[in-house]
């Protein structure tokens, strides 16, 4: 296949709020361009992981090349780049957008513009993309395309007339969308003869061939046999294969300026070719990398432990394999007196963490205990040093602490005006600082608050949804570190602190959290032969306590000839149950207790 004429290439993304029908629209486009045979057509072809399909969200970007015969009679080559649909993956979204010249902005005709729609538009505008608004789900009885158009104008500032009404489910209007892609999105520019600059917008790990980099070639040409260099990590590699995305990888002789495709160069570690990196020709390097690269930085940390200690090696090997595909994940071994050996893992956000947990459990069949998620605190000690603290256990002792800082975010909440009150209440509860509120004519409000990230990563989103009957949407961006009055809350069982249960919390909330944790723990433990004291302590001060009275009756009343086997089995079960518990001091703590106590929402 010869290099296509730039004028006939269109590179575009689809961006949308979760559930607005991004993947369904992508599916219809694939069908319409016959990229996928009827029989191959599964729902949402682009989302490859089971978890993605089940949750209806896209976690990893992915791309596909389509041939579209336009109404002007010419054939166009369309590269559709799917983007992750969650705030945790904003950076990946922005890199995907950087690989395109235009974007379809999908808006649900029922729910209208949402917080993430706005966030995605900001990202697209930053990248100078041509935006084509698409109002989806017009087949639904309660669809209101007119209101959606209004919101486009009022909230986003795009003329509502530009929007195309579609029903991705029924395929209605999809051809108009494809025409708009051809007509409105500019063809790529770039000089094939210039030094190579190719942006890595995603990658995946192939166990046989190493990292497969998904690239957009800005300038120059990339061919098998050439030696490439990563402009940030400086890693070098020899290109083994380049190709484009059909319904699989299709090798081609070269990728030239304007193309979207993949590069395989025998790279084994994802850290050497992370998303956002610029590839250049080692023998004729470009002057500077493409703009905007930053390493994805984990924001949320938690301990991951196997339920059974002997599964530790399995957990390690699963982490090794999964991190090949996930440049944003960090992990290091950690030991807890209560939970044994495990790993402290860093994630982009809570969703990233949950998806990761699900993949570990599902794809690797591991039973896990996860500790409460924590952000990275900055502890300033009296000796003038600054410590990054990603686990309560790592917090320096109180007498050496000068101050603690924690990350803050600017949160944008979009909500129907009726629910402004409950939303503001929630933000106040979570130490939020009001910044502004904008009201649109369509009875929707946009609230902006400055909030500690630690308050968001717990149950904030669930709470927001429940207080607004599911109508509010949330987006946030990290704005930096600020000092907070924080303290470490220890949970003790019969006087022994349980490291896995301690949390860093704002002093004003410590008592509430302490009481809540101790109460939950009480519910999760069963009575034992002796009294159990459960306490929450701030330093040496006990702020909450509960006791579990000793068990008084654990006896088999009847044991005669016919009962012996049964009673023995009963005792065997009791003994087996005890074996599965963690001993803290003398107290047997079932695994479920950790899960119950650490569960995020109430």
């Amino acid at each position: 296949m010869s290099s296509p004429n730039q004028q006939q290439i269109r590179n575009f993304c689809i961006i949308a709020h979760i559930d607005h029908g991004k993947s369904t629209l992508a599916d219809r486009i694939l069908e319409m361009t016959h990229a996928v045979g009827e029989r191959q057509m599964r729902e949402q072809v682009l989302d490859q992981m089971d978890i993605e399909r089940e949750r209806g969200i896209t976690v990893k970007a992915s791309a596909i090349r389509l041939i579209y015969k336009a109404r002007d009679g010419r054939e166009y080559l369309l590269n559709l780049i799917d983007t992750p649909g969650h705030v945790d993956f904003t950076y990946e979204v922005s890199r995907s957008l950087a690989a395109a010249e235009g974007a379809l902005l999908v808006i649900d005709a029922v729910s209208g513009v949402e917080a993430q729609t706005v966030a995605n538009v900001h990202l697209a505008v930053e990248q100078d993309l041509e935006l084509i608004p698409v109002i989806n789900k017009i087949d639904l009885p309660n669809a209101s395309p007119i209101r959606a158009r209004q919101e486009l104008e009022e909230i986003i500032g795009i003329s509502g007339d530009e929007a195309i009404e579609v029903s991705a489910k029924l395929g209605q209007g999809v051809e108009d969308v494809l025409e708009a892609v051809v007509q409105r999105i500019p063809p790529p520019t770039g000089d094939t003869d210039a030094p190579l600059q190719a942006l890595i917008f995603d990658s995946h790990f192939d166990p046989h061939r190493g990292i497969v980099c998904y690239v957009r070639v800005r300038n120059g040409r990339i061919t098998p046999g050439m030696t490439i260099q990563m402009m940030s990590t400086k890693a070098r590699a020899d290109v083994q294969e380049v190709g484009v995305f059909g319904l699989g990888l299709q090798p081609v002789p070269d990728l030239t300026a304007g193309s979207v495709g993949y590069v395989i160069a025998g790279i084994k570690e994802i850290g050497q070719a992370p998303v956002g990196e610029t590839i250049t020709d080692a023998s004729r390097p470009a002057g500077k990398p493409l703009p905007g690269y930053r390493a994805a930085k984990p924001m949320v940390f938690c301990g991951i432990y196997p339920t059974e200690n002997q599964e530790f090696p399995m957990l390690r090997s699963a982490l090794e394999k999964l991190s090949l595909n996930d440049a944003a994940l960090t992990w290091e071994p950690e030991t807890s007196a209560a939970l044994g050996t495990g790993f402290r893992c860093g994630f982009l956000g809570l969703l990233h963490m949950e998806i990761f947990q699900e993949r570990l459990e599902r794809e690797y069949d591991l039973d896990l205990v996860l500790t409460a998620p924590s952000v990275v605190y900055r502890a300033h000690t009296t000796d003038g040093e600054v410590h990054e603290v990603d686990s309560p256990a790592k917090l320096p002792p109180a007498d050496r602490l000068e101050r603690i800082e924690e990350p803050f975010v600017r949160a944008t909440i979009m909500t129907p005006s009726d629910y402004v009150g409950p939303c503001m209440e929630l933000c106040q509860d979570r130490r939020g600082e009001y910044e502004k509120m904008e009201q649109s004519h369509s009875t929707r409000a946009v609230l902006t608050y400055i909030l500690p990230l630690s308050e968001i990563i717990l149950d904030f989103f669930d709470q927001l949804k429940s207080r607004t009957r599911g109508y509010a949407s949330l987006d946030y961006e990290i704005i930096g570190y600020r000092e907070s009055d924080l303290a470490k809350l220890d949970i003790m069982i019969n006087g022994d602190p349980v490291d896995a249960l301690s949390v860093i919390t704002h002093r004003s909330r410590a008592e509430y959290r302490g009481r809540q944790l101790v109460k939950r723990l009480r519910g999760a433990l069963s009575r034992q032969m002796f009294e159990i004291r459960l306490q929450a302590a701030l330093g040496s001060r006990i702020i909450a306590s509960e006791r579990i009275a000793p068990m008084r009756k654990n006896v088999t009343a009847k044991c005669y000839g016919g009962d012996i086997t049964r009673k023995r089995k009963l005792l065997e079960k009791q003994k087996e149950g005890k074996k599965r518990m963690r001993q803290i001091g003398q107290v047997d703590v079932p695994q479920e207790a950790f899960l119950t106590v650490l569960r995020i929402a109430d």
Partner: protein
């Protein structure tokens, strides 16, 4: 039919066959109680007296076959226990017939204890007299409670007055070894009700008392009532209080608390049940009955229809058998023996199995003694009475 005669018939006087106990299961009741998960059925539901008779015939066949078997041929019978169900829903003549059959098939020891379970409302003086005449020498009456309210919660068919009448009838008929069964820890049962039941039990007089904490079994009507909230779940702390109250009350008047749930006037302990706790051997006949002989335990089918048809079809309807390893057997000796006040003798176990309990369960006995969960006294190990209510935690150390 040619049968190889077991050797003991020819050399009976020279070869000592170890004694057994016999358990006969008679599964019929007037009706099923709310908490009951035993193999029992309401007689009317099962087809009435004709069905009961057919069952009895099957029982005869099973005991004939077992009596002639290698394992039991010539074994002297030390105790007999007729349990259920409610054996006394059957006519006294049938029970007499059953006992006669047993005497024809097995050699009874002269002092053999023969117990029958009886429920109030199914016995009168005449019937008890007939049972005693047939050889029964111990009667166990399922009183459960002297509170009509509590009896209603249990969905017992009888009233407190029926229970008193049955006890009276037993005494008048000449029964000198009477045991009463009581239950505590029943939903909605008050301390006062329990105290009153204990008082009336003592007033009624008996040689033996069994006290059972109610255990709510899955699949019973009572369990359903508790899960729907129609009945409160039993309160373990209250049950513990009731148990302690009963232990004190009965000890004060001279009852010997000889097993976790059992009390007797000195010398009136149930010999049949003691054999279970001593891991002695027994033969169970009838539906759901268990047998233990030569380190093997087996269980008959639990369904009456399957049992009867099996027997009539010429097979012994055993559904499960397990062969216990030496370590399992030692574990059982401890698990059962430590239920009793006198505990177990380590030397006896060593002599019986050739392995000392401390070798079979290394470190455990030492640790339990250190913790005070076991007491060692003149070669015997026992659980102090104060720990009986928590004995499962101790006994579970001796399972594999």
């Amino acid at each position: 039919m040619s049968r190889k005669k077991p050797s003991s018939r020819c050399y009976g006087s020279q070869i000592k066959v170890s004694p057994v106990s016999l358990y006969l299961h008679l599964p019929f009741c007037l009706r099923k109680c709310a908490y009951c998960d035993f193999a029992s059925v309401a007689l009317d539901d099962a087809g009435g007296m004709p069905a009961a008779r057919r069952y009895l015939e099957a029982l005869f066949v099973e005991l004939d076959r077992r009596a002639m078997s290698e394992e039991f041929y010539g074994a002297p019978v030390r105790t007999v226990y007729l349990g259920g169900g409610t054996p006394t829903v059957l006519p006294a003549e049938w029970i007499a017939e059953l006992l006669t059959r047993l005497r024809h098939r097995f050699a009874f020891e002269p002092e053999a204890e023969i117990t029958i379970e009886a429920n109030p409302g199914t016995v009168d003086e005449e019937k008890i007299a007939a049972l005693l005449a047939a050889g029964v020498n111990r009667l166990s009456i399922g009183v459960q409670s002297f509170s009509d309210e509590v009896l209603r919660t249990l969905d017992r068919v009888h009233s407190a007055a029926d229970a008193l009448a049955a006890i009276e009838a037993a005494r008048t008929a000449g029964c000198t070894n009477l045991s009463l069964d009581l239950m505590f820890g029943i939903p909605e049962q008050s301390r006062q009700q329990w105290r009153d039941t204990l008082r009336q039990t003592l007033e009624a007089t008996s040689e033996h008392i069994s006290l059972y904490a109610l255990s709510v079994e899955p699949g019973t009507p009572m369990e359903r009532c508790i899960s729907t909230g129609d009945l409160p779940a039993p309160d373990d702390d209250l049950a513990a209080d009731m148990y302690e109250l009963a232990c004190n009350t009965l000890s004060e008047v001279g009852f010997n608390h000889y097993e976790i749930s059992n009390f007797a006037r000195p010398g009136m302990e149930c010999r049949h049940n003691r054999r279970y706790w001593a891991s002695d051997e027994y033969l169970g006949i009838g539906v759901s009955a268990h047998s233990f002989r030569g380190g093997i335990r087996w269980k008959n089918h639990v369904d009456i229809g399957v049992y009867v048809e099996g027997i009539e079809g010429g097979i012994l309807p055993v559904i499960r058998a397990e062969t216990l390893s030496v370590r399992e057997r030692i574990g059982e000796v401890l698990m059962l023996g430590l239920r009793c006040a006198e505990g177990v003798s380590e030397d006896d176990i060593s002599a019986r199995f050739g392995v000392a309990p401390r070798d079979a369960f290394p470190g455990i006995i030492e640790r339990l003694c250190e913790e005070g969960a076991l007491v060692e006294e003149s070669g015997r190990l026992r659980i102090p009475r104060s720990k009986w209510l928590l004995s499962n935690a101790i006994l579970s150390q001796f399972v594999l």
